[in-house]
C-alpha cells in the first residue's frame, strides 16, 4: 500500500515538473510579469518581437463583415386586404 502511495506522489511530482518546463517562456520573446505588493501587475513588452507579413483581406472577410444593411427595411407584401377592400365597390356595381 505504502509503495502505491509513494508511486502516485512521485508521478504527480514529475508531472508538475514537466508542466513547469513547458510553461517556461523563451527569455527573448515573451512578455514578463512581475507582481509587487498587493494586486498591482507590471507588464514589460520591451523585448517582444512581432514577426508578421502584410496580408490582403480576402473576399470572405468583406462579405461576412458587411452584411445586407437595408434588406430588412425593404417592404414585403403581407396581404392584399387593401385591394380586396377596393374591389367591394366594383363587386357591388358589377354589370
Amino acid at each position: 500500500m505504502k509503495t502505491l502511495i509513494t508511486l502516485i506522489c512521485a508521478s504527480l511530482f514529475i508531472g508538475q515538473v514537466t508542466l513547469a518546463q513547458e510553461a517556461a517562456p523563451p527569455a527573448q520573446t515573451a512578455a514578463t510579469a512581475t507582481t509587487t505588493k498587493g494586486s498591482k501587475i507590471n507588464l514589460n513588452f520591451e523585448n517582444e518581437l512581432i514577426d508578421g507579413a502584410i496580408d490582403k483581406p480576402d473576399l470572405d472577410m468583406f462579405k461576412n463583415r458587411i452584411p445586407n444593411r437595408f434588406k430588412k427595411l425593404l417592404k414585403i407584401r403581407e396581404d392584399f386586404s387593401g385591394e380586396v377592400q377596393k374591389g367591394q365597390v366594383q363587386f357591388e356595381q358589377a354589370p
Partner: protein, 495 residues
C-alpha cells in the same frame, strides 16, 4: 326553309318596331294629358304611365324623372303603384341607393329580391362597421334563399381586415361557386377568385395561392392584377426564378401603359435577392426613367390643375381607346397627365363604375334623341334630365381622378424611398464583387459569363437570346425567366 326563316326574322323585327311605335305613342299621349291635367292624383297616374312606357323601351334612367315626383308627392294614392316601377328602374340601372327614396310606410309592401338584398346588405355593412363580422355572416346565413353576393363579399372583406383569412376564403369560394357558370370575364367571379388567392396568401399558404392565381382566366380584365400578386406569392415562397416569370408578362408591351411601380420594385428586389446586381440596376434605371418623370408631371398637374373640360377629355379619350383597344393611336403629347396615370386611373374601381354609367347615360340619351325627334317638348325634358345626371356623374369622375392622382403621387414618393434602399444594396453588392476581383490573378482571362456586353443569357450550356419579336395576347402569362440564383455561399449565409 330559308324563306321561312327570313320571314320569321323580318316579322320579329317588324313586330318589335310596331310595339315600340305603340309604346312611344302612348308615352306622347300621356305626356300631352299631363301638361293639360291639373289634379295632383291624375298627374301622378300619368307620370307613372310615362315611366312604365319608358322602362318598356329600355330607358331606366330617363324613367326616374317621372318616378321621383310621385314618390315625393303629398298625394299618396299612387305610391303603391310607383314603388314597383322604382324597383324595376333600380334593378335595371343598378342604383340601389335609390331605395332610400321609398317612403317608410311602403317599405313593407316591397318584396322584390333586389330590395330584400338591399336591406340585408345595409345591415351587413352596418354590422361590419361596428366590427361585428361574425354577426354579419350569421345574418347572411339566415337568408340562404337569396344569393347575397355583395353581402358575402363585404363579410369576406371584413374577415380579411380582421386577420381571419380562413373565414374570408370560405366566403370567397362560395361566391366563386355561385358564379361558376358566368362568362369567363365575369367581374364578380374574377374578384371572388382573386379573393380566394389573396386569402391563401394572407394565410401564408403560398403554394395554394400561386396555384389559384395561375388558374385565373387570361381574358379577364383583372388578369394583370393577378400576375403581380402571383409574383409576390412565388417570391415569398422562395421561388425566385418562377417569381420573375409573371413579371415578364407585366413588363411586356401589353401592360407597359399601366402605372405599376410595384412590379418594378418587386423585380428589382428579386434580382437583388438572387445577386443579379447589374440586372437590378437596369430595372432601377427603367423605374427612374418612367416614374420620376411621371411623378413630376403629376406634381405639376396638382399644382396647376388644368380645366375640368380638359381633364374630362383626357379621361374619355383614354377610356374609349382602352375599351376599343386602340391606345396606340393616342398622341401622348396632348395629354397633361402621363398616359400610364390616366390609363390606370380609369381602371380604378369607382372610376370604372362611373365611366360605365356615363356610357349607359350617353347611350340612352342618343336613343331618346332619335326616338322622340318628332316630339321636341318631351325630348327636351328627357335629354335635359339625362344631361344633368351626366354632369353630376362627370363631377364625380373628376373627383375620383384627382384622388387617384394624389394617391399615385404619394405612392410614387414611397416607392422612391424603397428603390433607393435597393440602390444602396446593389452598390454594396457590386462593390463586393469588384473587391473580390481585385485579389484574383491579373492575367486571368475574362470568362464569357462575366462579359456584360454580351446580348444573350447563358445557362446549362445553352445561349438564350432576348425576345425581340411581337407580343401576342395569348402568350401572356407564359413567358419564362431562364436565369437562376447566382449568389455565392457567403452571400446566401449573410441573408
Amino acid at each position: 326553309m330559308r324563306i321561312l326563316l327570313t320571314t320569321l326574322i323580318i316579322s320579329a323585327v317588324f313586330g318589335s318596331q310596331v310595339v315600340q311605335a305603340d309604346t312611344r305613342g302612348n308615352i306622347i299621349n300621356a305626356y300631352k294629358q299631363l301638361r293639360s291635367s291639373k289634379k295632383v292624383a291624375g298627374r301622378n297616374k300619368l307620370r307613372l304611365q310615362i315611366a312604365e312606357g319608358l322602362q318598356d323601351l329600355q330607358f331606366p334612367e330617363a324613367s326616374l324623372l317621372y318616378v321621383y315626383p310621385v314618390l315625393t308627392s303629398k298625394d299618396t294614392s299612387n305610391l303603391a303603384t310607383s314603388v314597383p316601377l322604382l324597383d324595376r328602374a333600380i334593378s335595371k340601372s343598378g342604383e340601389s341607393n335609390l331605395y332610400r327614396l321609398v317612403p317608410a310606410s311602403l317599405k313593407s309592401s316591397l318584396d322584390s329580391p333586389s330590395y330584400k338584398e338591399f336591406l340585408i346588405h345595409q345591415q351587413v355593412k352596418e354590422m361590419i362597421a361596428a366590427n361585428n363580422v361574425s354577426g354579419a355572416e350569421d345574418l347572411v346565413r339566415k337568408n340562404e334563399g337569396l344569393p347575397l353576393l355583395a353581402s358575402r363579399y363585404a363579410v369576406a372583406t371584413g374577415y380579411m381586415l380582421a386577420k381571419n383569412p380562413k373565414a374570408s376564403r370560405r366566403l370567397f369560394q362560395e361566391i366563386a361557386e355561385y358564379r361558376t357558370k358566368a362568362p369567363i370575364d365575369d367581374r364578380q367571379r374574377g374578384l371572388a377568385l382573386l379573393g380566394v388567392a389573396r386569402a391563401f396568401y394572407q394565410e401564408k399558404d403560398l403554394n395554394s395561392a400561386a396555384t389559384t392565381y395561375r388558374e385565373f382566366p387570361k381574358d379577364h380584365p383583372y388578369f394583370r392584377r393577378s400576375m403581380l400578386e402571383l409574383s409576390w406569392a412565388l417570391f415569398r415562397a422562395g421561388q425566385f426564378r418562377s417569381a420573375l416569370s409573371p413579371l415578364h408578362s407585366l413588363h411586356s408591351d401589353f401592360y407597359e401603359g399601366f402605372f405599376q411601380p410595384e412590379s418594378l420594385y418587386l423585380r428589382a428586389m428579386i434580382q437583388l435577392f438572387t445577386c443579379r446586381y447589374d440586372e437590378a440596376a437596369s430595372t432601377l434605371a427603367v423605374f427612374d426613367r418612367t416614374y420620376r418623370n411621371a411623378y413630376f408631371q403629376m406634381r405639376k398637374w396638382l399644382d396647376e390643375p388644368p380645366s375640368s373640360k380638359k381633364n374630362l377629355e383626357e379621361v374619355f379619350l383614354v377610356s374609349e381607346a382602352a375599351s376599343k383597344k386602340i391606345s396606340d393611336r393616342i398622341d401622348f403629347k396632348v395629354l397633361k397627365l402621363p398616359y400610364l396615370v390616366v390609363r390606370t386611373a380609369v381602371d380604378e374601381p369607382i372610376t370604372d363604375v362611373l365611366l360605365r354609367r356615363q356610357r349607359t347615360l350617353l347611350k340612352e340619351r342618343k336613343r331618346l334623341d332619335v326616338l322622340f325627334k318628332g316630339f321636341p317638348p318631351l325630348r327636351k325634358q328627357l335629354t335635359t334630365f339625362l344631361d344633368k345626371r351626366m354632369q353630376r356623374n362627370q363631377a364625380r369622375i373628376l373627383d375620383q381622378l384627382g384622388a387617384s392622382v394624389i394617391g399615385y403621387a404619394q405612392e410614387t414618393e414611397a416607392w422612391f424611398t424603397l428603390m433607393d434602399l435597393i440602390r444602396l444594396e446593389i452598390i454594396e453588392g457590386q462593390k463586393n464583387i469588384a473587391r473580390g476581383k481585385m485579389y484574383l490573378p491579373k492575367d486571368q482571362p475574362q470568362t464569357i459569363t462575366e462579359t456584360l456586353t454580351r446580348k444573350y443569357f447563358i445557362q446549362n450550356g445553352y445561349r438564350f437570346w432576348p425576345f425581340q419579336g411581337e407580343y401576342w395576347r395569348d402568350e401572356l402569362g407564359n413567358y419564362q425567366f431562364v436565369g437562376n440564383n447566382v449568389c455565392t455561399a457567403q452571400e446566401m449565409e449573410s441573408e
